[in-house]
């Protein structure tokens, strides 16, 4: 199995430790992932801003970079969703179709491809899960509250398997955090307010560590937590799971 690691641009630049944790976690699960150095970005920021045409060269660069791998794994559901869904704008060559199908969010890869549902290790903290919309509603990694009252999903299953962990019960299980890519700048006021409300739900219900599998939502929420100096630690799920596995 030839696995490539895709580290989205903002993680590469601002959260290198998330890329490291992803790589190490995969290694511990028996997967030697390779990081092709020529990778840049999936093009989502441009396309979401209405500039899909300007993003096409980025899409092509992405396909060229990753076409030789069986899987492309990224610690960010929204980039994966973008590759899967919106690379339909390219000519659908065998390479393009392959890369679209090969793209996986890290947690989805662990659950669906590696078929791992539980991990040994302990994380004795009160953990709040931020379900990212692209992962949840786009990639169907978790149940949607619009459809069913049953709260379940890949990441919550993995986390629940850890010893001593307590998952926060939120008032609004899967409300959007308000990041939305360039939305966070073009509609900065609403975006901030949504993020504040989201964090408040976690604070109200006792979250100590806020986590999720999409670093973009977490970057936004972390910005709000740090501005308001709230006693919450924001970590990507890869950091938690990797740390836990190291200790066993």
């Amino acid at each position: 199995m030839k696995v490539a690691l895709f580290v989205p641009c903002y993680i590469d630049q601002f959260y290198p430790q998330v890329g490291v944790a992803t790589l190490q976690l995969l290694e511990k699960l028996g997967v030697q992932a390779h990081f092709p150095a020529q990778q840049t970005c999936c093009g989502q920021p441009l396309a979401n801003s209405g500039c899909e045409r300007d993003a096409l060269p980025i899409y092509k660069h992405f396909v060229n970079t990753f076409q030789d791998y069986d899987y492309v794994v990224a610690p960010s559901g929204s980039c994966v969703y973008h590759v899967r869904k919106h690379f339909d704008k390219l000519d659908q060559t065998a390479e393009v179709q392959h890369v679209r199908g090969a793209a996986y969010d890290l947690i989805d890869f662990i659950s669906t491809v590696l078929k791992v549902d539980a991990l040994p290790g302990a994380f004795p903290h009160k953990v709040g899960l931020h379900l990212s919309c692209h992962g949840q509603r786009g990639l169907h990694q978790a149940n949607e509250s619009e459809m069913t009252p049953v709260r379940d999903g890949q990441l919550s299953r993995l986390l629940r398997s850890l010893d001593g962990i307590e998952l926060t019960q939120l008032n609004r299980n899967d409300e959007c955090c308000g990041f939305g890519g360039t939305f966070c700048v073009s509609e900065a006021g609403i975006s901030a307010r949504m993020g504040q409300d989201r964090v408040a739900d976690h604070v109200r219900n006792g979250t100590q560590v806020l986590t999720g599998s999409d670093m973009s939502c977490l970057m936004h929420l972390e910005g709000i937590v740090r501005r308001a100096k709230m006693p919450i630690k924001v970590m990507h799920a890869a950091e938690i799971l990797n740390g836990v596995l190291a200790s066993v």
Binding site: K2, V7, C9, I11, Q13, F14, Y15, P16, V20, L23, Q32, H34, F35, A37, Q39, T40, C41, P45, L46, A47, N48, S49, G50, C51, E52, R53, A55, P57, I58, H61, Q67, D68, Y69, C133, R137, G138, E144, E146, M147, P149, C176, G178, G180, G181, F183, C184, V185, S186, E187, A188, G189, I190, A192, R193, M194, M219, E222, G223, I224, R227
Partner: protein, 465 residues
């Protein structure tokens, strides 16, 4: 003025924003409970979606069938290409009656056509009889929601309004007493009404009847007391058969308010003896939308408002921030069809979280259409020039490994070295208005990786050439 600017105005009153958000979320939760209780709800959605798709694919035929059936029932059928024709036809019917007093039940189509000001201008008294509609009519405001038109107002606001217009006690905010005042006031209007105008929720091609759903019974009271009933319907309200109706009535009220069914689901098929019934069938941009394959599915909308209640942006920006008759996610799809320039910012007033798509009872792919509108607007140069050029520049940078690497290094260094006050100046960094920027690490992931021992050799191609 963009959606963001109008939204910022709404956000200034943080408490009202909280209240607005929580009130609509309460409705969304009520909807959830009603939906969870119907095990076949997802099948119902699929069925409704397919019926609508089918109907839209033969809209011309069903409209003709409907017209013939309605005429056979003794109903006068009129066709209006746009808002102006719609208004003129209705005024003409009223004038021929020698009438001056009209009672109207809730209709977003007449809002869309700006019928009220038009009739008033021509000397006709129009009274909106839905309670919420009446409140905003007193205040000379537009509805901020399609099901809950006065949802932006608190009961204290209603008290003030009724004090001014109905003479209730100053400071009265008891909902019961306020409703009673409205009831007494409306009763006199109902009795005096000569012509009743209603909207149409569903029009049944097979029978030529129209169906109107209300919770207050005001449409029925108006129609039964007046000599003439005028029903205004958009061309997309057609469903083929009477047996299809149950699918939609089961979905509509549950999605809208969490009720199993609306309190009144009234069928109007033919005029009572000595009375007249008219149906005005309106296009007003709908065939244009029908002709846009990417956006055609928006015509499936049954106006339940669920996408508004669930939309985290709508809940925090209020309906007026959309400046369009239909606000929220579906309005953001319908509005650029009418005026691309004016409504260019609306498809961007979304995080594309997809909750609207999942909640929609007729399975409109709302967030996908919002994404597609963005591309249409980008191609038509209707997005801000700074954004357009910024994105072009970014496209160049991100398509090249080398330029990207250098740019990243430069930006991180700048972030580390520049003073916080500069990097977080709200005037040129919208992110920093309410958020801290991430701390800029010394090395990027790729820099770290390059220093690691390299285990895996480049793999061979797996893909058939």
């Amino acid at each position: 003025m963009s959606h963001a600017i109008r939204a910022d105005k709404f956000l200034l009153d943080a408490d009202r924003t909280t209240w607005h958000d929580e009130t609509l979320w309460f409705v969304r939760e009520k909807r959830d409970r009603a939906v969870y209780a119907v095990p076949e709800f997802q099948e119902l959605r699929e069925l409704a979606s397919q019926i609508k798709n089918h109907t839209l694919s033969r809209l011309d035929l069903y409209l003709q069938e409907f017209e013939a059936a309605a005429q056979a029932n003794g109903v006068h059928v009129h066709w209006a290409a746009d808002a102006a024709e719609h208004n003129a036809i209705i005024l003409d019917i009223i004038k021929k009656q020698g009438a001056t007093r009209v009672v109207k039940s809730k209709s977003m189509l007449t809002e869309e056509c700006h019928l009220n000001p038009y009739l008033i201008q021509h000397g006709v008294e129009v009274v909106d009889t839905d309670l919420g509609e009446r409140i905003i009519q007193f205040r000379d405001e537009a509805p901020s929601h399609i099901v809950l038109p006065a949802i932006h107002l608190k009961k204290e606001d209603v008290g003030d309004t009724f004090h001014t217009h109905l003479g209730t006690a100053k400071g009265e905010s008891d909902p019961q007493r306020l409703t009673e005042a409205a009831r007494q006031h409306l009763r006199s209007k109902f009795v005096a009404g000569e012509v009743a105008i209603s909207g149409v929720n569903f029009a049944i091609a097979e029978t030529g009847a129209v169906v109107v759903c209300t919770n207050e019974g005001n449409a029925d009271l108006g129609v039964n007391l007046a000599r003439v009933h005028i029903a205004a319907m958009g061309i997309e309200k057609i469903i083929p058969r009477l047996t299809d109706l149950g699918v939609f009535t089961r979905l509509l009220a549950r999605s809208a308010t969490g009720q199993p069914v609306t309190t009144y689901t009234s069928h109007f098929a033919k005029p009572a003896p000595d009375k007249e019934m008219h149906i005005v069938i309106v296009d007003n941009g709908r065939t244009q939308q029908l002709g846009r394959p990417d956006f055609r599915a928006s015509l499936k909308c049954i106006r339940c408002g669920a996408c508004m209640n669930t939309c985290p942006v709508y809940r925090r920006s209020g309906g007026h921030s959309y400046d369009f008759t239909v606000p929220g996610p579906i309005g953001a799809i319908l509005s650029p069809n009418i005026d691309m320039k004016k409504h260019a910012s609306l498809p961007f007033a979304s995080t594309l979280c997809g909750s609207c798509t999942d909640v929609c009872p007729v399975k409109i792919d709302i967030h996908t259409q919002l994404y597609k509108w963005r591309q249409v607007l980008g191609e038509a140069n209707e997005i801000p020039a700074s954004k357009k050029w910024g994105m072009k520049f970014m496209g160049r940078v991100l398509a090249s490994t080398r330029v990207y690497g250098l740019g990243g290094q430069f930006a991180r260094r700048a972030l580390r070295l520049l003073p916080h006050g500069l990097t977080h100046a709200p005037s040129f960094n919208a992110w920093a208005v309410a958020r801290e920027l991430p701390e800029a690490p010394k090395q990027s992931f790729r820099e770290w990786y390059a220093k690691q021992p390299q285990p895996a050799p480049q793999p061979q191609s797996q893909v058939p050439a």
